[in-house]
Amino acid sequence: MSELTPVAEIEELTVEVGGRRIVDEVSLRVLPGRVTALVGASGSGKTTTGRALLGEFPSDARVTGSVRVDEALVGYVPQHPAAVLNPARRVGALLYDIARGQVRELPRRARRAAAREHVLNALEMAQLHDGSRLLRRFPHQLSGGQQQRVVLAQALLLGARVVVADEPTTGQDALTKRRVVDELAAVAARGIGVVLLSHDLETVRALADEVLVMRDGRVVESGPTERVWLAPSHPWTRELLAEQPTLTGDAPATSDSYTVLRVRGLRARHRDVEVLHTPELALRSGECLAVLGRSGSGKTTLARCMAGLHRTYVGEVLLDGVALPRSLRDRARGQLAAVQYVFQDARASFDERRPVLDQVARTAVRLRGVPPRDARAEAAEVLNNLGLAGELAARSAARLSGGELQRAALARALLARPRVLVCDEITSGLDTVTRRGILDLLAGLLRNRDGLSLVLITHDLDTARLASRIAVLDAGQVVEQGSAEDILTAPAHPFTVSLTEKHSLQGRSLGKH
């Protein structure tokens, strides 16, 4: 190891915002061909540290310490990829711009073809197999996972010696995730230093050579992955790595439960392309339905149809047997409150400028007629339960971490006291500890608040275990649905089989000492 010179280095970095140290004396070395992982609770400063390698800090932060990067460019896959995709440019243009830098040496005439070659190659590496089709699309015409992979493709195209990947596998299904991990491993194998910021321990374990465990901005433990895994020294690490207790959707679909939400003959289109066909899907009261499926299979589209955010469909969405208006603009307050949706891209769903608390509280004011003062108190309480204490909640959305925003978005929906809560990948950006907390909370609500039903959209099988029933989507079709038990233990459809296959990620054999 000693023979390697680091391609990037952080020394005693401290980032202080408003008197609070969000990163506290963190040191980090990025070695070529090695994967360095930062793990830690949501809000522990992973993203802030990772961005320091790019030379970027929160505005008006007080920064001390040093950051050294060998080369000019650093690849970066941010936590919320949608934000870095230019809404007015096609995916192709966004990629070509970067590819152009790679083909500068070639004669002018050969450049175009070479750039295209590069782009398609990168898309393939980023697991976007029908890449050439996506090139003509605008970013908003991609699913969340596809956006993420486009951003990954950009980072791969760049050919930088350091890549900072912030939660590169959130929002990816197990299959895709496996491939992305392989790809990152291959990237490292080419001598590129990878900094992996992730809450996904499986991914970390499979990829990382070295792990830094963060808590409240401080590195509490660091060392080679295997050592940390096998012999965690800090109690916090132990907690973080603790085996997940298998939550099971114990909410019994009792005989007195009735169908709250029914989707019938739904065929949803984007423009003229049909992306979703769901002949029948029912959600019973008090039940938790998980929707599983690969990235781009139409999960979000389904959720948005339910929520009234996607209008171009035939068929109907029935609440208590009554068809809901297609657009949420035409829904009555009661209907709005009854069906709430938690956005996949939490950051984009908040107004960056206003305090999160205010934004969350409005739900209660508008949908339940709670006086503003009480609404704020209630919002503060819900946020607190979700781990966003007072001071955090009072900040503007721009000043919260990805996981924090995800929780705020959940709180915003919960404040409506919905009967159907549609959660789109709400735990994707959360560490195990926080995730456990949230899922517990949701399970508790299911149990105690009668009438609440959950639709959990997830790629995460562990999360899906919370559900009592699971529906599996593939390429817009519901290929299988049934009780969670059945689906997870004895999947019938080959696609489900491939999804639920014991997703042991191959640890890398190379470079481990």
Binding site: E11, G55, F57, S59, V63, V69, R333, Y341, A409
Partner: protein, 291 residues
């Protein structure tokens, strides 16, 4: 952090404020100092007790300058505000609606207004009605509405389709809060830029209208009217044009600079700034917020 949010780029702010102050003070308090108008002299002459000379009908230019600010400020501001009072809702409605017919109903008739030469419009009103200052403000606003509405719509279209707006709808937020509180606020910068420039356009439209017989008298003490009517004497007695024109220039320039300064001060979501330029070793670099 709090401190930082209140902090204004003081230099620019001060400059803008100073620029606005001169014409504003003159406009507001000028009439108090003006006193009685003296006797007339030959038009466009210098000297003879008139320290800025005389205007196109032989009146004292300085006296006119003192008196001529109020109508400019009042009518132009009123007309611009009025134009936006209509253009803003119309533009926002058509940007926020998903009903194409509603958008067409709102915007297409305005397009028709755009295609009618405004000269014809003003001529007609001039000859059919004889509106006073208020009518003038209305008319000038009317001429400006289609244009402003289109700009509002164009600026708002993108913001209106973002997930943040969907989330607001999901919360059952009222139209006004979504439109004004969120979308309107997000497009404040283009709006301010447009309004700042529009204000100037309105000033001279008022002057043109005056000459066609609408609103103020064609020989009114009004800076814009002065610039317009004294232009024939530009080479004999430049002050009659230059002084009011300069005042208008300072007024609009000041307004715009003030807008700019306020907007960049109000922006609390400053982009996270890039501090370390890469490829270099940046040891012990300390960055502190500027005072």
């Amino acid at each position: 952090m709090r401190r930082r949010e209140k902090w204004l780029p003081s230099g620019r702010f001060a400059l803008g404020a100073a620029l606005v102050c001169v014409p504003l003070v003159l406009a507001l308090f000028g009439p108090l100092f003006a006193g009685e108008p003296g006797p007339r002299a030959t038009s466009f002459t210098l000297g003879g007790g008139h320290w800025l000379g005389t205007d196109f009908v032989g009146r004292d230019v300085w006296w006119q300058v003192l008196f001529g600010g109020r109508p400019v400020v009042v009518v132009a501001l009123a007309a611009t505000t009025l134009a936006y009072l209509v253009a803003l809702p119309v533009g926002l409605i058509s940007a926020l609606t998903h009903r194409t017919w509603l958008e067409e109903v709102l915007m297409r008739p305005l397009d028709v207004l755009l295609a009618v030469p405004s000269l014809l419009m003003i001529l007609l009103v001039a000859s059919v009605f004889s509106p006073g200052a208020a009518g003038l403000a209305l008319l000038v606003a009317l001429v400006n509405i289609p244009d402003a509405a289109r700009i509002v719509r164009a600026a708002a279209a993108d913001v209106a389709s973002r997930p943040a707006v969907e989330a607001l709808r999901m919360q059952g937020e009222s139209w006004w809060r979504i439109a004004v509180g969120h979308v309107g606020r997000s497009i404040l910068r283009p709006l301010a830029a447009d309004a700042g420039v529009r204000l100037t356009g309105v000033l001279y439209l008022v002057a043109t209208a005056a000459f066609l017989g609408i609103g103020v008298a064609p020989d009114a003490a009004d800076w814009a009217v002065m610039v317009d009517r004294n232009r024939t004497g530009l080479f004999v007695q430049p002050w009659a044009v230059v002084v009011p024109a300069l005042l208008i220039v300072t007024l609009t320039m000041g307004c715009n600079l003030l807008f700019d300064a306020l907007l960049s001060a109000g922006r609390d979501v400053t982009p996270e700034r890039v501090v370390v330029r890469r490829g270099v070793d940046v040891r012990d670099r300390t960055k502190e917020p500027r005072p």
